[in-house]
Every structure is written in structure tokens, then in C-alpha cells.
Symmetry: C2
Subunit: 145 residues, 2 copies
């Protein structure tokens, strides 16, 4: 993995610094999405010094480069997720256990084109995310009176 992550950084045109790699690997090790502070708490013991701003900065840069994904959360805080899928796609996010799953093919390019044409403007990006409860969490919620 180390190798692959270093390569991913290089491909994104980013220096493979130890901390940046560690942040990326920590996110990779998460089963769901994670917040900057959570990752920082998990990593700070492994370095003599690691600032929370460094974690924020790196996560933002990694997301901007497309190496990781930002989660849109109802509480409006920042969360990130490592998704190995390099295709353009979207996610299902479990708001209970933080699991993130890929959605099948994003069929929005047709919509984008149609909207661009009908509006006479330019669609630059789109946001699509399903929120809910994954199988495990739905079962737990349903089984709890």
C-alpha cells in the first residue's frame, strides 16, 4: 500500500512527505469517513510533532487533487473518505456507522448537457449523494423498540 499511495501522490503532483503519506494511509485504514481531528488524534503519537492545521491542509489538498473524497454531512463539518475507485461516481453514505459505498454509474452527464443547453449556461460540477442507513444499521434501528 505504501508504494501505491506514494505513487498516487506523485501522480497527483504532490510531494510524498511522511506526514502526508501517513494521513493518506490513516484514511485508507478507516472503514468509513473520518474527520480531520479524528485522523490527527490517531496520528499525532507517531510523530514528535504533527499539527492539526497540517492535517486540515493535507486533507484539503488531497481532496482537491482527487486522491480522496469529501463527504457532505448534515452537520456541515468536514469529513473525508478514501475511495480507490478512480472512475467518476458518487456515494451512498451511512449516517449511522459512516460506511461509504459506491453508487453505480453516474448518469448525470446527459442531465448536465440538457441543463447546459436549456439554461444556456455551463454546468461545472454536480453533487450527488445518497444518505441513509446501511444494512447493519437499518437492522439495528429496526430491531430496537
Amino acid at each position: 500500500m505504501e508504494q501505491g499511495h506514494a505513487r498516487a501522490l506523485k501522480e497527483a503532483g504532490m510531494k510524498a512527505t511522511p506526514k502526508r503519506l501517513a494521513i493518506l494511509e490513516a484514511l485508507y485504514a478507516e472503514s468509513g469517513y473520518a474527520s480531520p481531528e479524528e485522523l490527527w488524534k490517531r496520528l499525532r503519537d507517531r510523530f514528535d510533532r504533527l499539527g492539526l492545521p497540517t492535517v486540515y491542509r493535507n486533507l484539503e489538498e488531497l481532496a482537491a487533487s482527487g486522491v480522496i473524497t469529501k463527504v457532505i454531512h448534515p452537520n456541515r463539518q468536514l469529513y473525508y473518505f478514501f475511495c480507490p475507485n478512480r472512475e467518476h461516481h458518487h456515494h451512498f453514505v451511512c449516517l449511522s456507522c459512516r460506511k461509504v459505498e459506491d453508487l453505480p454509474a453516474c448518469g448525470l452527464s446527459a442531465l448536465e448537457q440538457e441543463v447546459s443547453r436549456s439554461i444556456g449556461g455551463k454546468v461545472l460540477s454536480h453533487i450527488l449523494q445518497l444518505n441513509g442507513l446501511c444494512g447493519v444499521c437499518a437492522a439495528a434501528a429496526g430491531g430496537t423498540p
Copy 2:
């Protein structure tokens, strides 16, 4: 309009207080989305006293009741939009001039069902928003070297 907005509030189970009505009408008068502070600045002269927290609180309540719509913005601040369309639908948002336009029918219920089934969980909500430049802003951007 006054009448209609008061009715909309009643239907939403909310008291039609003067300030709440004024906030709703101010948002209605906006051509695009607006922030709590912008609306507050526009309204505070009309009342001897009007607190910014009151604007925040009302906008949030109105959005929760479905009377107004929240905009998802890259800068992660709160913006709201008055959309008279009561059908379930989504929006195209111009990031330059703040214009908001309705998208044609949201075709996500099929996707929700499929995802619910394949994941074995429950899709509770979805986010879909197109961001871009409206016709006017795209032309202006294109014409500016």
C-alpha cells in the same frame, strides 16, 4: 403575497410572526440565494430590534419545514433560497450570480430503490445539485479575456 406567505407558514405549522413573515418575504424578493446575514442587514431597519440569531433560527426552521431550500455551497456557509415549486425536485445554482433554477424531474427514486435493495439498507435522503454558470454569467466569463 403577504397572504400567501402567511398561509404557507400556517400550513407548515408555524406561527406567522411579523419577523418570520418579513424574513420569508425578504428571501422571496431575492433573485437568488441569500445568506442569513445578508437578509438580516436588509431587514434590521424595518424593526426596532431584530437579532441575527432570530434570522438564523427562522431560516433553519423554514428550511426544516420545507418552505424554503438550503443551498449547498462550496464555501460551506449557509445560504437559502425561496422556491415556490412544491414538487420534489433539485436545482441548478449559478455560483457567480446566485441564480437558482429548477431541474426537471428528479429521477432518483429508482436509484434509491435499487440502492436500498442492493445495500440492504435504507436510503433516507439524497442530495443532488448542479453547480455552474448561468447563461448571463457564462457569456460574461467567456467574453472577458
